[in-house]
């Protein structure tokens, strides 16, 4: 009774296409409600730092809460930058590069009416770093950890100003702050510092207020009429979030009018959705789908073999298979990002790949790669990896896959190649949204298990440039250094660069105004429901 993924996909597409042909109109959505079918298996935690990966931040985090800094998600064709959020400006203390001073936005109140001020800011930072804090919560601590691990403490300067002190000097520190959400201290204290009780009545400063929840099924948010950023007061009354992990179910729910906004329809369903009048939107964003090489042990310690793999991959064939929901990737950044630079482009060249393998004395070049069956950002891992395998083998590799589930893959990623020396690579999606993620992916000091550099990539020149960037406070100079480092890692074939995702979404025809930003995060507020 097992069907292969592609047969099942074709079957689904065929039946859906037939069904779609019969549909002529969409039922009108009476209320002004945007109902989203998320890919998550559960409603992301709405009591502060969300779970369920970036989807949790996208739909729940940035709807209910704000950080000190925010993302500018208002454009489809510009790289997303960090903009003021609950802080209007910040500067590094001229006398102490480990102290950051923030001017707080005035006149902002939480949904429960409590005031946003320096005391609340200090309380929020402390609760996320200090185990002895009365509002400390292990889950929130854990989820914020990769953003807060460098924070040593916070102090109030006056009502409208506060400072964060870091343990190490780090010029990129502010890039962490859009991920750290500010919750209402009164609401948490009223709940007796019990986060489960707080989640019955959560309170942030975001563009939506909590209305109701049915655990595991739906989270209902309502428009915040008093949102401090008047440009972002939602243009609809309600935002309903429903977890729907199965792609066919999401498509059916959209076609039958139960929801009007779905995440990630599978490529084989897109023609059917478009045929039924749905708007399928895509955009580039910093989401690449590479193989991370083990550069400490095995074949890929040799640059020629890394290059051979990059020459062997036919990215166009991959795009054709994905039906246009991806673009070629030649780096950790995407070309639309400022720090992409003038990268080395490994054009498809099987002969060159072969001769490099021969030169390296690895023919056939046997490699072992871990791939996952599914997972956040992993796209369509099974058919895509089958194609990569076929392409690599054409050039003289011999690819052995170890297929594991997503949780196991994350374990493997976290522990690093050092714990899995017999693996030559893992297929693990990557999101370089800001310089800090890049630094953590390629600097040798962040070798896993102490950061995001899984394969232990180490290049003294790259280290040097990034080390300089970490102590450079002029943003342009900082970017210059990072750009140079990025060019270097592409030439060095630090990863097997394959494709980057275009993140398709499908919207019912009566929705307008959605602007798909070049980001993992999206602004839902401008959507108009007719």
């Amino acid at each position: 009774m097992r069907l292969t993924q592609s047969t099942l996909g074709q079957m689904k597409a065929l039946v859906l296409a037939g069904a779609a042909a019969l549909i002529t109109t969409m039922s009108a959505n009476a209320q002004s409600t945007v109902t989203v079918a998320m890919t998550a298996g559960d409603i992301p935690d709405w009591s502060g730092q969300p779970d369920q990966g970036f989807e949790g931040y996208r739909f729940v985090g940035y709807s209910l809460y704000d950080g000190l800094l925010a993302w500018d998600l208002s454009s489809t064709d510009e790289e997303v930058d960090v903009v003021p959020g609950l802080a209007t400006s910040y500067e590094v203390d001229p006398d102490n590069p480990k102290r950051w001073i923030f001017d707080l936005r005035q006149g902002v109140t939480f949904h429960d009416g409590c005031e946003w001020n320096a005391d609340v800011a200090v309380w929020n930072i402390e609760r996320l770093i200090n185990e002895a804090h009365p509002a400390f919560n292990p889950a929130q601590f854990a989820r914020a950890r990769s953003r807060t691990s460098n924070i040593a403490g916070a102090e109030k300067i006056d009502e409208a100003t506060f400072a964060i002190t870091t343990s190490d000097e780090e010029s990129l520190f502010p890039y962490n702050l859009p991920y750290v959400f500010m919750v209402s201290q009164c609401a948490v204290e009223e709940a007796g510092n019990d986060w489960a009780a707080y989640s019955d009545n959560p309170s942030g400063t975001g563009p939506y207020v909590f209305e109701s929840v049915v655990p595991h099924e739906r989270l209902v948010l309502a428009k915040n009429e008093n949102y401090w950023n008047e440009d972002r007061i939602p243009k609809h009354d309600k935002l309903v979030l429903m977890p729907m992990p199965e792609a066919t179910t999401r498509a059916s729910a959209l076609l039958s009018g139960q929801v009007n906004f779905i995440e990630a329809p599978s490529p084989d369903m897109i023609p059917a959705l478009e045929g039924a009048g749905m708007n399928v939107v895509t955009n580039v964003y910093p989401h690449t789908w590479p193989y991370l090489f083990n550069t400490m042990e095995g074949a890929f310690t040799d640059k020629r073999i890394r290059q051979a793999a990059n020459y062997a991959v036919d990215r166009e064939a991959m795009l054709a298979m994905l039906g246009g929901v991806a673009t070629e990737s030649y780096g950790a950044y995407i070309p639309e990002q400022e720090n992409y630079g003038d990268v080395f482009v490994y054009e498809h060249d099987v002969e060159k790949a072969r001769s490099l393998l021969e030169e390296a004395g690895c023919m056939p070049c046997e490699i072992k790669v871990a791939i996952s069956t599914s997972g956040s950002g992993q796209m369509q891992p099974l058919p895509m990896n089958e194609l990569v395998k076929a392409q690599l083998e054409e050039a003289g590799f011999e690819v052995n896959f170890e297929v594991i589930d997503w949780n196991t893959m994350i374990t493997m990623f976290q522990q690093g190649a050092v714990a899995y020396p017999d693996y030559d690579a893992i297929n693990f999606s990557s999101a370089v949204m800001e310089p800090f993620s890049f630094v953590r992916g390629f600097m040798s000091r962040y070798q896993s298990p102490n950061g995001g550099n899984w394969g232990g990539y180490s290049n003294p020149e790259v280290d040097d440039l990034l080390e300089q960037a970490l102590t450079t406070y002029n943003i342009d100079e900082q970017n210059e250094l990072i750009r140079e480092a990025h060019e270097m890692i592409t030439e060095d074939a630090a990863r097997l660069f394959i494709v980057s995702d275009l993140n398709p979404r499908a919207l019912a025809p009566n929705l307008s105004g959605f602007v798909q930003a070049q980001s993992w995060f999206q602004d839902m507020t401008p959507i108009i429901v007719e």
Binding site: F141, E217, S252, N407, T411, Q414
Partner: protein, 318 residues
């Protein structure tokens, strides 16, 4: 009979302990780690160690198990690592949601299968028999996740008479069996779930009734000049305990929830809950769910045994 019931209930204790030890062990033998679902993937060793300590996952396995068992004995199944809600709340909510469609599916399947199987046995080799055999083969062999997708496409997408997903327009909290606008959400999941029991029960009814019809006492009844209907009634009554046992097993399977069906319909039942617990290695939730399900299975079997005694006094339970 009551002594028998108490005995059987006591037998459930070693079963529950055994089940919980096996699943506790399996979760730890499987690769992956509950910590990974809590921390970002690039977390450092120190953070991993700290979270492990905060959640009590740094204790030796037997200690963790015994602590869990001690609490479970007092009715406290712990707290879900992922949702931070009590496991008992999660499990009983999900169980209620699954039961609502499982019982419906089994009743539907039983009524249809009983009628169909009896008719088939009585008319062996005739058209109706072939029809029943066909239905039973289809029910057993069609992959029900495929059927679920097809039903959704036909009834929800094309004809738009039934909803595609979810449990009621406002979710399970407002689901109401006496309101068609809510009940219609349960129709497709129930139909899909009914297919396998329909196949199995039709087949076993047919063979049980056919067996009975071939026995000497039926010859005797015929010789006495009883009407066909009366003979059939006797035969069915004799076959019933066997059919009940099969149905009880089917209900037991269904309350375990079907991971595939509940995922396709986003039905918030035990299958859906368990798949989430497995994927995130949410050990307390997984343990609690399996324990409750194992005990329910034992309970259903007990009820079926007692029902059999009521239906057929020859089966003595003492």
């Amino acid at each position: 009979m009551w002594i028998y019931a108490i005995q059987r209930t006591l037998y459930a204790i070693p079963i529950a302990v055994g089940v919980s030890i096996i699943c506790f062990g399996l979760v730890y033998l499987a690769p992956g780690d509950p910590i990974q679902s809590l921390l970002p993937p690039d977390a450092t060793v120190e953070d991993v160690a700290m979270i492990r300590r905060l959640y009590g996952l740094d204790q030796p396995l037997p200690i963790q198990y015994l602590e869990w068992l001690m609490r479970a004995l007092t009715g406290d199944l712990g707290t879900s690592l992922q949702t931070n809600r009590p496991v008992s709340y999660e499990v009983f909510n999900a169980l209620g949601n699954t039961l609502s469609i499982a019982i419906g599916a089994v009743l539907l399947a039983f009524i249809l299968a009983f009628a169909l199987g009896t008719l088939a046995a009585y008319n062996r080799g005739k058209l109706i028999d072939k029809f029943a055999t066909g239905i039973s083969a289809v029910g057993i062999s069609i992959p029900n996740y495929w059927l679920a997708i097809v039903l959704v496409i036909v009834f929800a997408v094309t004809f738009r008479v039934l909803p595609a997903t979810g449990m009621g327009s406002g979710g399970s909290e407002t689901f109401n069996w006496f309101d068609w606008n809510q009940v219609k959400y349960a129709v497709l999941p129930m139909l899909t779930l009914a297919m396998i029991p329909l196949g199995v029960v039709t087949r076993s009814t047919r063979s049980a009734v056919a067996d009975t019809l071939g026995q000497d006492f039926v010859q005797m009844l015929r010789a006495k000049g009883l009407s066909n209907v009366a003979i059939l009634t006797h035969a069915v009554r004799n076959a019933l305990p066997q059919i009940l046992a099969v149905m009880g097993l089917q209900l037991g399977y269904l309350i375990g929830g079907s991971i595939l069906i509940e995922t396709i319909f986003t039905w918030p039942g035990t299958g859906f809950l368990m798949s989430k617990a497995i994927l995130t290695r949410d050990i307390p939730l997984l343990q609690g769910t399996i324990l409750v399900l194992a005990l329910s299975f034992v309970l259903i079997n007990l009820v079926v045994d007692l029902l059999q005694t009521l239906v057929d006094p020859r089966i003595k339970r003492a």
